[in-house]
């Protein structure tokens, strides 16, 4: 998480790490970009409704798109190649911009092989289930448990019942999922990655819950560590008085 204020305006800018969980969490990568909707979706078991619909801004920029289209989602793994670190920016209000650094599981959740690194310092999480598959809610519940065990205690978790567009095939009642979410202190939305319904609302609701106020007291959060990408500071011959401690 990093918060900075632009010195030339009163704009506040904060960055948060968001993790996505749930078998078809990629579907939720249906994000609003630059006013144009682009959507990523993925194969789930027996799902024929999923498709990749990408707005102009993204088309052609990524090998992922090609793989998506070419492979027609016949391989779950393929669907995540190169797409594990997306960012999405949301303007919360006139003076506050929030950037989500979105980590997907890179397929490591498939065999329950998710690395602890994934939960590390996550500020928020979206756990997705499929309203047309009763078992997917149980799976989502186990992910919530895992998050509560492994992640920050202040993590904001949102439960998203996806495929709202397939209401006719619904197996999970809204009231049941909502009650579970309330009990467990989760945000709750039913979404459709296909139509985009409630997707922005979901991200905005998370953004509003984030601890902006405490974070913004610091002018700029300096990175805790050292920057390995920084080139060598000086040549060894000139390294007099290198030690400062």
């Amino acid at each position: 998480m990093a918060v900075a204020r632009d010195s030339t305006s009163s704009t506040r800018f904060a960055q948060f790490k968001l993790v996505l969980l749930g078998l078809d969490s990629y579907m939720l990568l249906s994000l609003l970009a630059d006013g144009r909707l682009f959507r990523l979706s993925c194969q789930t078991t027996g799902c024929t409704d999923c498709f990749a619909y990408l707005g102009e801004s993204a088309v052609g920029k990524s090998s992922l798109v090609l793989r998506f289209v070419k492979d027609q989602f016949d391989d779950y793994r393929e669907s995540t190649i190169g797409a594990a670190f997306l960012t999405q920016t949301i303007a919360l209000d006139e003076s506050t911009t929030i950037k989500f650094e979105i980590w997907d599981t890179a397929g490591q959740e498939r065999y329950k092989s998710l690395a602890p690194m994934y939960y590390r310092n996550a500020n928020c999480a979206v756990v997705v289930y499929d309203i047309t598959q009763a078992a997917s809610l149980d799976k989502a519940k186990s992910w919530v448990k895992e998050l509560q065990r492994q992640a920050n205690e202040n993590i904001i978790i949102a439960l998203a019942g996806n495929k709202l567009d397939l209401d006719a095939k619904r197996q999970v009642e809204t009231a049941a999922a909502e009650a579970y979410a309330r009990e467990s202190g989760l945000l709750f939305f039913e979404t459709s990655a296909k139509s985009g319904e409630n997707v922005t609302e979901l991200f905005t609701a998370i953004a509003k819950r984030l601890p902006l106020e405490t974070a913004s007291t610091r002018q700029r959060t300096a990175p805790k560590g050292v920057d390995l990408n920084r080139p060598n500071r000086r040549a060894p011959a000139a390294s007099n008085n290198g030690c400062t401690c």
């Binding site: 797409a83 065999y111 030690c243």
Partner: protein, 445 residues
């Protein structure tokens, strides 16, 4: 799992994870399996509960140690050289973006019963309590020689030929005392024993330069360390591999390596068989194909205050050169703490390690234990160092070496490169991964 892959990797130690990442990035279809339920293999960082399970089964962690989740205890004590090859690989593969690194605060050496900072340049040599006045001048001249040395300019060579003269001869040229040689050879060139003295000086000079350049890069010490422990390194490379399509299966038993005509063709787990022409793995997966080269003792110590006489450093390395304590191999102390998110508040984690020379290794490390001050908890492990008997070109089984007793990852990355070359028949050349690889869908910046 019943599928054809290009490469199957067994064990999620750092060596295996780097190779897995490299091969996935190159477009190979990789299956990566670990029989354990966590990442890292022998190079994992464990929680308190996991450490007790491993070293003291049945016992509960002491209450005062605090929350389990605050602990990331390394099994193998190593640091990254700021200018070393692992840093280079991390930068080239962009794995740096999954992790944060912090400096180790101090690099110390033991001489005549005391510890002092390792001087890394002329100025520090002048101030160092490690040497007398005249020796300081000699040391200064030695540093000037190292710093000014240019391969193509014989006037900077001071009559020495690094490929012909031994390091002993170089030391003699500058008239350095044996105690000074100890800290140059062991705390800077980071040799574990004195075999280097009679070998051509070039490698030693290169190692000293690596130390000096690493020191110059960030300032406090030449060493870097990932927040949340060394176990983050294999996880980072595993993520890289997964992003490029690698399949990960933890907690998956490996029952058999399947051979056809003496050549490995796959791996069986239960009644599933995954097939591949290349099998890579750590020595624990191939007990009949490795030999023992020695034993290492590693003692994980929990302290409640910093190590005495180190200016309360929150992290450090202390090298005890073998000569100083009448041994053949150096003893290392590596200490990290809450500053690196590896222990709960008010606790320090020091690992003492050395290559065993007797049947009573715990006795061998006494000089190091004396330096630590009071120790709250101690977990002792003695492990075999293993290496493959064959290079894998015949049976297509490519086995890594155990993590050795050196204090850094240079030998680990050497092993990575060696295995790669054994498999591909050409040296590993890392290409810079495009910075925006994972941000192709960035809405706007």
């Amino acid at each position: 799992m019943d599928e054809q892959y290009d490469v199957i990797v067994l064990g999620t130690g750092l060596t295996e994870c780097i190779l897995s990442g490299v091969f996935s990035v190159e477009g190979k279809k990789v299956l990566h399996i670990d029989r354990q339920d966590h990442y890292g293999g022998e190079s994992a960082s464990l929680s308190l509960t996991q450490i007790y399970e491993k070293y003291r089964p049945g016992e509960q962690p002491r209450q005062s140690l605090g929350r389990d989740r605050d602990w990331n205890i390394d099994l193998i004590p190593k640091f990254l050289m700021a200018n070393g090859e692992l840093t280079n690989i991390l930068v080239h593969t962009n794995v740096t973006r999954y992790m944060e690194f912090k400096q180790i605060s101090g690099s110390f050496v033991y001489r005549d019963g005391k510890i002092a900072k390792v001087p890394s340049n002329e100025m520090e040599a002048i101030r160092s309590p490690l040497m007398g006045l005249f020796e300081k001048r000699r040391m200064k001249r030695f540093f000037e020689f190292i710093g000014n040395y240019e391969e193509g300019n014989p006037s900077t060579h001071q009559g020495l030929n690094l490929d012909r003269n031994s390091m002993n001869e170089v030391y003699t040229k500058f008239g350095l005392e044996s105690g000074t040689k100890d800290f140059i050879g062991h705390a800077m060139a980071l040799y574990l024993d004195d075999d280097y003295l009679t070998k051509p000086a070039r490698e030693t000079v290169e190692r000293i330069l690596l130390y000096v350049k690493s020191m110059a890069r960030f300032g406090k010490s030449p060493y870097l360390y990932p927040l949340y422990g060394l176990g983050e390194l294999p996880q980072g490379f595993a993520r890289l591999s997964a992003i490029y399509g690698g399949t990960y299966m933890l907690d998956k038993p490996v029952d058999e390596i399947v051979y056809e005509d003496g050549v490995a063709v796959g791996v069986r787990s239960g009644d599933e068989v995954a097939r591949a022409k290349i099998i890579i793995g750590d020595p624990t997966y191939f007990p009949t194909k490795v030999r023992k080269t020695g034993k290492v003792i590693r003692v994980i110590c929990v302290l409640t205050r910093p190590i005495p006489n180190t200016d309360n450093a929150d992290s450090l390395q202390i090298v005890i050169p073998q000569n100083q304590v009448g041994r053949k191999h150096d003893i290392y102390i590596a200490m990290v703490s809450t500053a690196h998110n590896v222990s709960s508040k008010g606790h320090y984690l020091a690992i003492v390690s050395t290559i065993c020379e007797t049947d009573n290794p715990l006795n061998e490390i006494t000089p190091a234990m004396h330096l630590l001050g009071p120790v709250l908890e101690k977990f002792v492990g003695v492990e075999d160092l293993l290496e493959p008997i064959d290079d894998g070109t015949k049976d297509h089984v490519y086995i890594s070496k155990s993590y050795d007793a050196t204090s850094h990852f240079e030998t680990t990355t050497d092993d990575v490169k060696d295995i790669y070359e054994r498999i591909e028949g050409k040296p590993l050349v890392l290409k810079q991964r495009p910075a925006d690889d994972e941000e192709n869908f960035t809405a706007f910046e």
